[in-house]
Amino acid sequence: MINTFFRVFVLAVFVLTASLSSAITRENVKVHMLTNGLKVLLLESKTIPNISYYTFFRVGGRNEVVGLTGVSHFIEHMMFNGSPKFGPGEFDRVMEFHGGANNAYTGMDMTAYTDWFPSSALEKMMEMEADRIQDATFDPNVFESERGVVASERRLSVENNNDHLLDETVQATAILAHPYHHGVIGWMSDILNWKRDAVLKYYKTYYAPNNAVLIVVGDFETKKIIPMIERYYGKIPAATPPPKVTTMEPQQLGPRKLVIRREAQTPGFQAVYPVSAATHPDFPALQLLDLILLRGESSRLYRKLVRDCQLAVSVYGGIQETIDPFLFSFVVKPKVGIELDRIETEIETVLADIVKNGVTPNELQKAKNQVRTDFYSPLETIAGQANLLGQMEIIYGDWQATFQVIPKIEAVTAERVREVAATYLVPDKKTIGLLIPKEGEK
C-alpha cells in the first residue's frame, strides 16, 4: 500500500512543481517599487473579467500596547469611515456603485484590505484606496459610533462565545510579555476608552507607503497600471519607519493552568505550548507535526480522544505562521460529564509516544500530501493568489518565499518531526485552560 502511494506521490510532486510555474512564477509576477517605499506586486490573469486588489500593512496585534489593545482592528474599521475627499460611508457606496465589494481583516501581524471588482472599476478603486491610506478623517462622531460596532463585535465573538473566551484567556496566560498576549479584538475596557488622538497617532505611524505592500491580480495590463499607480500613490510621503517590536517572551519554566467558570451547556479544554516563528528552521517540521496530530480522522489526537477513548466530540488547533514565536494549540470539545484531566493525560501520552518512537513514514507522507493540497487550493482564484502573495511578503518578508514552501516541507525527515516534538511539546511548557459550566445553571 505504501509503495503504491509513494509512486503516486512522486508523480504528483512532478506535476505540481510544473504547475505552480503556470499559476505564479518568478517571471509572471512583476515587482514595482515606488520611491516612497511602496512595494507593488502585479500578476495578470484573464480567467475572469475581474481584479483582486489587496493592500497589506505591517501592523496588527503585535504592534499594540496596553491601553491601545484592539486599535489596529479599530483602524481597519475606521478606514471605511471617510476622508476629506470621500465622506463617511462614501468608500463603500462608490465601490458598490461601480460593482465592487470588499472586506478587510486584522491579524496579529498584519492588516489586509481586500477589494474584488470588475476591471472597469480599477481606476476609481485605486483613487479611493490611495486616498484612505493617507487621509482617513477619524470624525469624532463616527469614531464613537464605530466604537459601538467594535464593542458589539467583541460581545458577539468573545463574551458570548465560550470557545473564544477560553482562547483569549489561554493566550493571555501562555504569553506573558510579548504583545501576542492581547487578543486582536482588544480588551473591552480599552475598546471603551481609546482616545482619538492616540488612535490617530498610531494610524500615522503605521499607515505609510513604506509600511505597505500592494498586490493586484487579475484582468489588467501591467504597462497601463504602473503609471496609474505612480499617479495615485507616488506623491504620498514615506513616514519614519515604525518602532521595532523588541519584547521577547521569557522562557516558560513550568506548567500553567487556568479555569473559567460560567453558564454553559458544555465544557471546554485547551492545551497550548510555545513554538517558533514562521521563519525559524524548525517551522516546516512543526507544520507536519501539526497535521500528523490534528488533521483528519486518521490523525493521532482524533483517534485517541474522539475515536478510541471517546472523551471528546472534536479536536483541532495547531500552529500559525507568525512573525514572532506563538503557540501550538490543542482545542478540544469534551463530552459532557467526562473528567477533563483525562484529556490532558491522553494528550500527553500521545505526545510522549511521538517523542519516544517518532512518526511513521506513512504519517509523514500523508502530512506532506496535505500540505501540497492546502498550498495549491487557493491558487484556483485570483483572490487566493493575491492573498498568498501578500501573506508571504508580510510573514517572510518576500513573496518569493512562495517557492520555498514545498521544497522546505519535502526536506523534512521523520526524525526532524520527532525532534521538534521533543523540543517544544514537553510538560513543563504547557498551559492548560478549562471552561467548566457553573453548577446549578446547566
Binding site: V8, F9, L11, A12, V15, L16, S19, S22, A23, T47, N50, G89, D92, R93, F97, H98, G99, G100, A101, F117, P118, E144, S145, E146, G148, V149, V150, A151, S152, R155, L156, E159, N160, N162, E263, A264, Q265, T266, G296, E297, S298, S299, V306, R307, Q310, V313, K333, K335, V336, N362, K366, N369, R372, T373, Y376, L379, E380, T381, I382, K442
Partner: protein
C-alpha cells in the same frame, strides 16, 4: 473546398456552439450511465486538481420519516464497506490529502470531493465504494449518535447560531423543513441500525442522480473510473416516485418567541416571512431588492443599524429558496438595552421600502453590484460542479445565469418596489429573539405578544 476553409468552418461552428451555450458558465460534456445517472464533465488543466459533486434527489432530509435520519445516514456512508473499516477509509482520504463529504441538504443528498489529479482515481473509487456498498457498522452508529447528542448541547452556548435553530422550529413547525439535521435528543437515542439501512436502500439510487466532474483529468480516465462500480450500481425495485413538496405553512399572525439566556450580553433576532421559490419569475427583482435592503454592506439595514448608529457589527436580510417555496429573513443583534430601538428601526425600514421603494441611483448601483460580483461565483472548480448539478436539479439550462443577469440589468424601480411590497411583512411574521429576558422583555412588547422559554429547556421548540 480547401482545407483551410474547412478548418475555419469547423472553428466557427465550435465558437457558435460556445456562444449559444452560455456566456457565464462553460458548457460541460454530458452523458448518461446505463443505470440512468447523468454525468457532466468539464476539462480544466489550469491546476493539477480535480473536483466532483454528486446530487441524489431522493436522499435529502425532506424525504426522511424521522428528524435527522437523512443526515445520520449520509454521515455513516463512509464508515465502512465490505473491504474497509471506517478507520481505513478515513486514513486513506487523509493520506491522499483529499476531501470527501456526504451531507444531506433539504432537497437532496450532496457528495463532494476534491484532490490532486494524481490522487483522484483513488479518491473517486473510495467514494463510489462507500456510496454503493456501505455496511453501517453498529459501533459507528453508536459513536455518531453520541457525537450528535453532544453537538446539540453545544449549539446553545452560542446564541448567534442558536437563534437560527429556534427560528427554524418556530417558523416551519412540523413541516419537514423544520427538521434539524443533527436530529433531536429522543430520536437520536432511539435510532436503530435497521432504520439507517432502510433509508439507504429506499432513497439512494442512481437513476435520478447527477454527477459533475471538473479539473485536470481526461474524459477517458473519467469514463474508465465510471465503468466499474458506479455504472453497475443497481436501482431499487421500487420505481422512482415524483418528489413531493408540502407547502410551507404561512404565518397566521405575529408569532413572537423569546428564548431566555440569562448570561447573554447581546440580544439576537431573526424575523421571517414567506419568500419566493427557486424558479420564481421575480428572482432577478428579488436579488436587486435584497441587495439594497439587506444584502450588502451599504444596504438599508446595515447602513441604519451599523454604519449610522453603531448598534451592531452586522445586519442583513436574505432569501432562502426551494423548488416550490421559500422564506425571507432579516437578522441582527445588539446590546440588551438597544434591542427595542433596533427592531423599531427595522420595522420603519420595512414600511419605507413598501411605501417609497428605491430611487433610480440605488437601482443602478444594485444592478452594477450584482453583475460585478458575479464572475468570481463561478471561478473555481467547486462552484462549477455545484452549478451543473443544481441547475439540472432545478430544471434550468446551463445558460440560466445569462438570462438571470440580463433580467437583473433590466430590473427597474417599479419591479423592485413591487417585490418589496410582495415580500415585506405587515401583520404576519415570525420573530424569534435569544437574549436575557429580564433586561429585554419589556423592550420587545411593542412588537407582539411574547412566549418566553428558557434556553435550558430541552430541544429548540
Amino acid at each position: 473546398m480547401n482545407r483551410l476553409s474547412l478548418i475555419i468552418i469547423v472553428a466557427l461552428f465550435f465558437s457558435c456552439v460556445q456562444a449559444w451555450g452560455s456566456r457565464t458558465l462553460p458548457i460541460p460534456q454530458t452523458f448518461s450511465l446505463k443505470n440512468g445517472m447523468k454525468v457532466y464533465f468539464l476539462s480544466d488543466a489550469t491546476l493539477p486538481m480535480v473536483a466532483f459533486r454528486m446530487v441524489l434527489p431522493e436522499a435529502g432530509s425532506l424525504t426522511e420519516t424521522q428528524e435527522g435520519l437523512a443526515s445520520l445516514t449520509a454521515e455513516l456512508i463512509t464508515k465502512g464497506t465490505p473491504e474497509k473499516s471506517a478507520e481505513e477509509i478515513a486514513a486513506e482520504i487523509d493520506f491522499l490529502g483529499a476531501s470527501l463529504s456526504f451531507s444531506a441538504a433539504s432537497e437532496f443528498l450532496e457528495v463532494s470531493g476534491r484532490s490532486l489529479s494524481e490522487n483522484f482515481p483513488a479518491l473517486f473509487q473510495l467514494a463510489i465504494a462507500s456510496l454503493t456498498a456501505p455496511t453501517f457498522p453498529q459501533a459507528e452508529l453508536d459513536k455518531e449518535r453520541n457525537i450528535r447528542l453532544e453537538r446539540l448541547k453545544s449549539i446553545k452556548d452560542n446564541p448567534s447560531s442558536a437563534v437560527n435553530f429556534y427560528f427554524r422550529k418556530a417558523y416551519f413547525g412540523n413541516h419537514p423543513l423544520g427538521a434539524i439535521s443533527l436530529g433531536n435528543e429522543s430520536a437520536l437515542k432511539g435510532f436503530q441500525r435497521q432504520q439507517v439501512v432502510d433509508f439507504y436502500s429506499s432513497h439512494y439510487r442512481p437513476d435520478s442522480a447527477l454527477l459533475a466532474v471538473t479539473g485536470n483529468i481526461s474524459i477517458r480516465t473519467l469514463k474508465s473510473l465510471l465503468e466499474n462500480r458506479l455504472s453497475k450500481w443497481a436501482n431499487p425495485v421500487q420505481s422512482l416516485q415524483p418528489l413531493r413538496f408540502i407547502p410551507i405553512p404561512l404565518p397566521a399572525g405575529k408569532k413572537c418567541l423569546l428564548i431566555d439566556k440569562s448570561d447573554a450580553s447581546q440580544a439576537y433576532f431573526v424575523l421571517g416571512v414567506p419568500g419566493i421559490k427557486k424558479a420564481d419569475p421575480e428572482t432577478a427583482s428579488s436579488q436587486v431588492f435584497n441587495t439594497l435592503f439587506g444584502g450588502r454592506f451599504t444596504s438599508w439595514l446595515n447602513s441604519e443599524l451599523r454604519i449610522k448608529r453603531g448598534l451592531t457589527y452586522g445586519a442583513r436580510s436574505s432569501f432562502q429558496s426551494w423548488r416550490n417555496d421559500g422564506i425571507f429573513t432579516i437578522s441582527s443583534y445588539t446590546k440588551n438595552d438597544q434591542i427595542g430601538e433596533m427592531l423599531k428601526i427595522v420595522f420603519e425600514l420595512i414600511v419605507k421600502a413598501k411605501k417609497d421603494g428605491f430611487d433610480q441611483d440605488e437601482i443602478i448601483s444594485a444592478r452594477n453590484y450584482i453583475l460585478g460580483q458575479f464572475p468570481p461565483t463561478l471561478e473555481d472548480m467547486e462552484s462549477k460542479v455545484r452549478a451543473y448539478t443544481e441547475l439540472t436539479f432545478y430544471g434550468e439550462s446551463f445558460d440560466y445565469y445569462d438570462h438571470l443577469l440580463s433580467r437583473v440589468s433590466s430590473t427597474d424601480q417599479s419591479s423592485a418596489r413591487s417585490l418589496a411590497s410582495r415580500i415585506l411583512p405587515k401583520e404576519k411574521y415570525v420573530l424569534v429573539v435569544v437574549g436575557k429576558a429580564d433586561e429585554i422583555l419589556k423592550r420587545l412588547e411593542p412588537f407582539g405578544i411574547w412566549e418566553v422559554k428558557k434556553i435550558s429547556d430541552p430541544g429548540f421548540h
